[in-house]
Amino acid sequence: MANYKLQINGKSYEVDVDEDTPLLWVLRDNLGLVGTKYSCGIAQCGACTVHINDEAVRSCVLPISAVKDDKVTTIEGLSEKGDHPVQQAWEEVDVAQCGYCQAGQIMTAAALLKKNAAPSDEEIVEGMNANICRCGTYHRIKEAVKLASAKTK
């Protein structure tokens, strides 16, 4: 066990966990930030996507010891009022079915748009392809990323 100081969603947290504990489980089990989802645990589906300094990262395979003083953003902290352009677009396009993967989809899309505010269709597909949606909401995800891009302009 070791003590880690974390910067998450603009707040400071302190946790005592084993150094190999993935950030995902620290968020969920220790800090009560359950918006970041567990689904595969091996970085194959994207449900656990968070931002580390604006980069989309799979929190299920990121050991807490590697986080250091990097800035972590989770779905809970993407915007103060839940009105980030990507969140707005997800609402307007009514993207979700079961909704379980959508926090990860939103975090991936937000990171994509941060790097490339006006992605082409191919760039959207390339950027979002590694996030699995078992309900098959892919058409709407694509549409919502486009809408979010238009809102960001």
């Binding site: 089990d29 595969c40 079961c98 993967c101 392809n129 078992r134 098959g136």
Partner: protein, 718 residues
């Protein structure tokens, strides 16, 4: 979690009407504040509406709380059910607050998500719930104003008499005291204002901001975490060495029950680590362990020599085949499939001295309750079940195995337990879509008329793997349908569109093969069969011929069937779960390989309650059907699946989806199922289009692992 509602019997009046399903309408009459124009928080509305066990309650703030009794797993019932109540109540949708009801078999019936049955079952009940409340509000208004009820109308949560308007909130108290009317009049469907309009998912905000909604998001004071190591199919526990596992920090205990080894701890990660240290030995229960090669042999042996259970027999097939001008024969096979919802199985159970508290994602809360009651030896009314939102289900959560495990552990440990399955547990944990093999045979006479049809199917733990009264039964004079079952220790269960998820592909592909042998256009061939079923029906017919025909004609029209240059089209049409879906897939040859571009879907599910949700169900069903037909394989070695996580258990991704265009038939018929019916036709439409483009007929799933499908490119993101 959503806040559970408090009950305070002094504060509400419960009025029971008996219309069929134990309908209860409760009105809150606690506060007498006059309505104010202000933004009222969900919490305030819910706290003032001290009332559950009912479909709706009305708050003095003019808000209506509508309870959705069925588990929500992505089929959007939590939005579409309340829309129906709100429609008949005649209330402004923005004033509606939706709350997931707990399990309550006295107040609701069929709190189940399965079989695409919720909407057809509840349509009239929900309308009646809304209309009854509306009628009571109007009666209260008539009394207060001293006018005839015939001179009143309602609009957007108000009862109106000339220029005088009374809000529902103002009337709720008096209305609740009045008698409950019987035989209330329902709206004319042409007057619907909410039904038929796109209403967004009521949980959008919570889902998109990461609020706790799902079973895995449950954390309770004093609870312990648990994970379970289960044996491969056909094996039992021999020995456990938990020394090393117990040394992992955060692990409290390792216990065994039945054939399971459970690790108990303070958090999830220590359990995942400890499992790798666990040394568990298993031994076969009896005889050999099953593998895929063995199943393949079983299929062939049983198809060739097994005694089939005759499901349907019309005319004389032997005569038809012995005198046939042409015989077409083909075999189709599919593997087992895991449901693999994005949220793995999990459940919270707290066995207490006076009862059991269950919280989690289940499609069958009643089954969960009964299972817990049996394990604990208490009556079911001592068990409460709170349904969380489900991160997908696809049929897997119809079972209660994961609930039973959580209850067993809570009972054994005398503590609240949250049981989490890992993804590997989920994929190797059984209750799969059964592996099935079909043999189809068709006899054509010298006029290329289909005069004989045989279907023989073998299912592993699926003795009823044919749908004998479905199309083309009824259109062929001589027909024989037989089903055979092989019993395996590998567990199987309903998987979205049970049986038809593969049967439809096989049958619709085979009909294409028959059409080709007969030299007929696939659409014209299907219409010819439907006309024969109509004019000269053979035996029982369980599908509506006119509705199916309309779907075939409409999808042909929408897709420009046969009129496009350089595009190969494949059609498939299927009736399941009371709905009809026709699909046309389009493929093009690019550099010698078929590229799948687009699929058109025409659905007849009766009245479309929520167009945005309906489009999602059709699209989702098609992507699901396509993904599993194309990519997903599940093979077995010695009783355990070779695929254990999403690195090898291959789900469809964004890059692989073609464009999808959805249409719905408008016919005003009461709504039928939609969670499943769009899935079955998709594989056939795709396979038929690919065949037309490339000449390669793929008969086994997953397509991409078949020799014929090398060089196939999917989707066209550009």
């Amino acid at each position: 979690m959503e806040k559970g509602l408090k009950t305070n019997r002094r504060d509400f009046l419960k009025i029971a009407a008996t219309a069929g399903g134990g309908l209860l309408i409760g009105f809150n009459w606690s506060g007498c504040d006059s309505p104010k124009m202000k933004v009222v928080s969900d919490e305030e509305v819910l706290n003032s509406a001290l009332n559950f066990n009912s479909y709706l309650s009305i708050s003095p703030t003019d808000h209506v709380v509508i309870y959705s009794p069925n588990p929500e797993l992505g089929q959007n019932i939590k939005t579409s059910f309340p829309m129906i109540v709100a429609e008949e109540l005649d209330v402004d949708w923005s004033k509606v607050r939706v709350q997931q009801a707990f399990l309550d078999t006295e107040k609701y019936d069929r709190q189940v998500t399965g079989g695409s049955g919720a909407m057809p079952h509840s349509w009239e009940r929900l309308r009646t719930a809304g209309a009854t409340a509306r009628q009571m509000l109007m009666e209260a208004a008539a009394k207060r104003l001293g006018v005839s009820i015939d001179d009143l109308k309602t609009e957007n949560g108000q009862v109106i008499h000339g220029s005088k308007k009374l809000t529902y909130g103002e009337l709720a108290n008096e209305a609740a005291l009045g008698p409950v009317p019987e035989n209330v009049k329902l709206k004319n469907i042409n007057d619907f204002k909410i039904i038929g309009t796109p209403v967004k998912n009521v949980d959008n905000k919570a889902m998109f901001t990461g609020q706790p909604l799902y079973g895995l998001d449950i954390y309770r004071e004093g609870m312990v975490h648990a994970m379970i190591q289960r044996p491969p199919f056909g094996m039992k526990l021999k020995s456990v060495d938990a020394e090393a596992a117990k040394k992992i920090k955060g692990v409290k205990d390792v216990v065994t029950f039945k054939e399971n080894v459970a690790i108990i701890g303070e958090a999830t990660w220590p359990l995942m680590k400890a499992r790798k240290q666990l040394k568990v030995q298993y031994e076969p229960v009896d005889g050999k362990l099953e593998s895929t090669a063995y199943h393949n042999q079983v299929f062939d042996d049983m198809l060739n020599t097994g005694k089939g259970d005759i499901k349907r027999q019309d005319g004389d097939v032997n005569a038809a085949f012995s005198t046939a001008a042409k015989v077409v024969k083909s075999e189709y096979q599919c593997p087992f499939l895991s449901h693999s919802p994005m949220e793995p199985m999990n459940f919270f159970a707290h066995v207490k001295a006076d009862g059991v508290e269950l919280v989690g994602p289940t499609q069958t809360p009643d089954r969960a309750r009964n299972a817990a009651a049996e394990i604990c030896g208490v009556s079911p009314d001592k068990v409460t079940v709170e349904m969380t939102r489900l991160g997908g289900g696809f049929g897997r959560r119809l079972r209660a195995d994961f609930v039973e495990e959580a209850v067993e552990l809570s009972k054994m440990l005398n503590a609240p337990v949250k049981l989490t399955w890992s993804r590997e547990d989920d994929i190797t944990g059984g209750a799969y879509r059964p592996a099935v093999k079909y043999r189809f045979e068709a006899a054509l006479d010298s006029d290329n008329k289909l005069v004989g049809y045989k279907l023989r199917g073998v299912g592993i733990n699926a003795g009823n793997c044919t749908r004998e009264n479905n199309f083309p039964s009824g259109s062929v004079e001589n027909l024989l349908i037989e089903s055979l079952e092989y019993k395996s220790p590998i567990t199987t269960n309903a998987w979205r569109a049970p049986i038809t998820n593969f049967l439809a592909f096989a049958e619709q592909s085979f009909l294409d093969e028959v059409a080709e042998a007969a030299g007929k256009d696939p659409v014209a061939f299907r219409l010819e069969l439907l006309d024969r079923a109509k004019s000269n029906p053979v035996g029982e017919i369980h599908y509506d011929i006119d509705r199916m025909k309309k779907v075939v004609e409409t999808v042909a029209e929408k897709s420009g069937w046969g009129k496009k240059q350089g595009v190969s089209q494949g059609i498939s049409v299927y009736f399941s779960h009371r709905s009809y879906v026709g699909q046309v897939a389009e493929a093009r040859m690019v550099n010698g390989a078929p590229v799948l571009d687009k699929i058109y879907a025409v659905t007849d599910c009766g009245i479309v309650v929520n167009p945005t949700g309906a489009d999602q169900q059709v699209r989702g069903g098609m992507v699901d059907g396509m993904g599993h037909a194309m990519f997903t394989n599940m093979t077995f070695t010695d009783g355990i699946s070779d695929q254990k996580n999403f690195d090898s258990y291959r789900l469809i991704k964004m890059k692989e989806i073609p464009e999808i265009e959805t249409h719905f038939i408008k016919n005003g018929i009461d709504p039928t199922g939609l969670g499943e019916p769009a899935l079955p036709p998709t594989g056939g439409a795709i396979a038929n289009a690919i065949y037309k483009a490339s000449g390669k007929r793929v008969r086994n799933q997953p397509f991409m692992e078949q020799e014929e499908m090398k060089n196939v490119k999917l989707g066209d993101p550009a």
